[in-house]
């Protein structure tokens, strides 16, 4: 069916077997398209299952990321962190979620009620649907079927991520605006300025990555790294650092956590929010952290690829399933985020903008030009 639709010649070969977004059967599996009953499974049930699994895994990951953050920060700060709910506080996320569910949902009397209600959703939904194109692994063999470990391999995957992720900013802006309160307003102004300017730098680094891989597909980029035998972090170290700094800024993480700088703007844009609506912002922030980590892993650290593919002595590393490598790498990134937060003070608004516009964006553009020139010359 759709398997013939693949037109990308460069790295398409490896992806021939990978299903498209509509869950078409892999071309390498003989006879799978022969029976309509099987097609139903391939087209509807497997993608649905994958969506549910990814959704649950992400929410679970977010819940435990919050716990991890509290624990890591506590350890850095010679504390214990949550210890009461379950052994070493492992059930803390459940208690937190329960608390947020039963909390009173307050809407300020003079808030713009529609926008106020809508803003948390606008914030959370993009953060979750980005996961549709993130490849968690190559393929897995389950019940005699070859199942690609991603929900969809869109041929404009990277573009999809950038565009969907930037919708999330509207959530923050609208939340600050709709609260009809001064601190949230200041915070949302900060958020919009910050996120838009760092978006530019991050997208520029992505351009140089696209030049390297020759494709916008997330799976394609990983395959390109496999074929090159080189993780792009080694080919594009500058792009990686810009991406990392921009990623921190875009997810409102320290040292760029100005929109929710509690010491300056109280709660930032979510000052007036309570209960589940507040939780939505919270979930969105942490989901975004996972998104940025996943994208960084995919683009710069070879996604699900095992490290040292050329070293024979370490060939056993290839026996570990790809999705475990992927999760490990993502975890390392998340840990780095938490570590940075525990260590560094916060930038000031004007310094942040200066760093973005005067340092990161010119560097990113220069990087694109150099990458392009090298590509053309070679």
């Amino acid at each position: 069916m759709a398997s013939g639709r693949l037109t990308k010649a460069a790295h398409g070969a490896a992806r021939e077997g990978a299903a498209r977004g509509d869950g078409a059967p892999p071309a390498t599996e003989p006879g799978s398209g022969a029976e309509p009953r099987l097609n139903m499974i391939d087209i509807v049930i497997i993608p649905l299952l994958k969506i549910v699994i990814v959704f649950v895994a992400v929410l679970f990951g977010v819940a435990y990321l919050v716990l991890l953050e509290r624990k890591v920060q506590a350890w850095v700060q010679v504390r214990l962190g949550p210890m009461r709910v379950g052994p070493h506080g492992v059930l803390q996320p459940i208690a937190d979620a329960l608390k947020l569910f039963v909390k009173e949902d307050i809407t300020p009397a003079r808030a713009d009620k529609w926008v106020y209600t809508l803003a948390p959703m606008i914030s959370l939904v993009p953060a979750l649907i980005v996961f549709a194109v993130i490849p968690f692994g190559g393929t897995a063999h389950l019940f005699g079927k070859t199942v690609p470990l991603f929900v969809a391999d869109v041929n404009v995957g990277l573009l999809y991520i950038v565009s969907v992720a930037s919708i999330g900013v509207y959530g923050l802006i609208l939340a600050g605006y709709a609260s009809n309160s001064k601190y949230p307003l200041l915070s949302s102004l900060r958020a919009s300025a910050q996120l838009i300017s760092y978006e530019v730098a991050v997208t520029m680094t992505l351009v140089s990555l696209i030049l390297m891989a020759g494709t916008l597909s997330m799976v394609g980029i990983v395959e390109a790294q496999r074929q090159a035998g080189l993780w792009y972090v080694f080919a594009q170290p500058l792009a990686f650092f810009i991406f990392l700094a921009g990623g921190l800024a875009e997810t409102n993480r320290a040292p760029f956590d100005l929109p929710e700088a509690e010491q300056e703007l109280v709660g930032g844009f979510h000052t007036e929010y309570s209960g589940m609506r507040f939780a939505f912002f919270f979930l969105a922030e942490y989901a975004n952290m996972i998104v940025v980590s996943s994208v960084a892993t995919t683009l710069f650290f070879g996604g699900w690829l095992a490290p040292f593919p050329n070293v024979h002595a370490l060939a056993f590393l290839g026996l570990v399933p790809g999705w475990i490598w992927f999760l490990l790498k993502v975890f390392c990134f998340l840990y780095l985020f938490l570590w940075i937060r525990a260590t560094l003070p916060r930038y000031r608004y004007d310094q942040l903008m200066r760093l973005g516009w005067k340092v990161l964006i010119p560097l990113a553009i220069a990087n694109v030009i150099v990458t392009g020139a090298v590509k053309v010359l070679l």
């Binding site: 300056e264 260590t343 003070p345 000031r348």
Partner: protein, 373 residues
């Protein structure tokens, strides 16, 4: 401006209330900011939320009871307040304090300075976003609280001095523990410096923020580290020695430009100087009584006196007027360093950004208990 025709695109200043319930106003300080975007056009400092009438209350308590009230002013440096008050009454009565008591008082006051600076550095760093430093500082302060607890049984409001001397001698082995603490604190100072002093973000956040020149600082009436940060080497411990400071060696660190970073450096150096003073005082701790000849009923002769000491925040002065007949002061007045230093805030924050306001409140190091009394 009101009569001028309204232009099509108009900007208005935004009045925003920072405090009295705000995470980084160090208590119940209220700062009314007038903002142009994120830039502070003007600010009003509103105080009085923690006013308990300590000065008036003191006029109805006898001299021994007032020691207890002074604890409640600068509650992160209670022993310093005790010291200032007791010395003022001693000056008024012409009492002689035994040398041993003077030395122990000095040790207590310097420990208190380290404790207070720990609270300052922690909260200051936290306001700028470095949360970890706060917990490190609180960890070290905890050790000082333990030392005080062992000395006088209290951890925050010590009531640790009496007119004419001290209520208690130091417990056995206490000096060893103080030395051990000094060692730990010296080690940990390196940690704070690693986290902050050469940190690029910290430098950018504090350098050239809230610059105040030496003459301006004197004109406003600044004292303590904010004054010394502006390059004025004024330290009551050196200029008008009290307790045992005239017998001990220490340096008075001064800053160069008078910005937030200089005030930070000055206080960091004061940590080291305090440790130095404590070590000398422990080495030279004389034997002898801890209370001088004090009448059973403290009733100073008619007269008035002012006496100032160097509290961790600046010059802490007490003015006591006695009518010679009563066992309570006729007039009791405190010159709180936090209150006088807070006056500079308005001048400091003008033209800076909202984020600098919290850095500046932190760099002045105010304690609202002392501002409002």
């Amino acid at each position: 401006m009101a009569n001028a025709p309204r232009p099509m695109f108009d900007t208005e200043t935004l009045v925003i209330n920072m405090g009295p319930q705000h995470p980084s106003t160090h208590g119940v300080l209220r700062v009314v900011l007038r903002l142009d975007g994120e830039r502070v056009v003007d600010c009003d400092v509103v105080i009085g939320y923690l006013h308990r009438g300590i000065e008036k209350l003191s006029e109805n308590r006898d001299y021994t009871q007032i020691v207890l009230l002074t604890d409640r002013m600068d509650y992160v440096a209670a022993a310093t307040n005790n010291l200032g008050y007791c010395e003022t009454v001693e000056k008024l009565m012409g009492l002689e304090v035994p040398r041993r008591a003077k030395y122990i008082r000095t040790i207590l006051a310097e420990l208190q300075r380290i404790a207070s600076h720990n609270v300052w550095l922690g909260t200051h760093a936290m306001d700028i976003g470095a949360v970890t430093v706060f917990l490190y500082n609180i960890r070290e302060r905890e050790l000082i609280l333990d030392l005080f607890e062992e000395y006088c049984g209290a951890r925050l409001t010590y009531n640790s001095m009496r007119v004419g001397g001290l209520p208690l001698d130091i417990p056995a082995g206490w000096d060893r523990k103080v030395r051990e603490f000094c060692r730990i604190q010296e080690e940990k100072l390196v940690d704070y410096e690693l986290l902050l002093t050469h940190n690029r973000i910290w430098l950018e956040r504090t350098r050239n923020v809230g610059v105040i020149s030496g003459p301006d600082a004197i004109a406003i009436g600044l004292s303590g580290p904010p004054l010394r940060g502006s390059g004025v080497a004024r330290d009551v411990r050196k200029d008008e020695p009290y307790a045992a400071y005239d017998e001990l060696e220490f340096d008075v660190p001064v800053g160069a430009t008078g910005d937030t970073y200089d005030r930070y450096l000055v206080r960091l150096e004061e940590f080291r100087q305090s440790i130095r003073i404590i070590r000398q005082a422990l080495d030279g701790l004389p034997e002898g009584p801890i209370v001088g000849k004090v009448p059973r009923l403290i009733k100073p002769p008619a007269g008035e006196t002012y006496h100032a000491i160097e509290s961790p925040k600046g010059e802490l002065g007490y003015f006591i007027a006695s009518d010679g007949k009563s066992t309570s002061p006729y007039r009791f007045r405190v010159r709180p360093p936090s209150f006088c230093n807070l006056q500079a805030l308005r001048q400091l924050v003008r033209g800076h950004l909202v984020a600098d306001v919290v850095a500046l409140i932190g760099s002045i190091d105010v304690v609202l208990g002392e501002v409002d009394r």
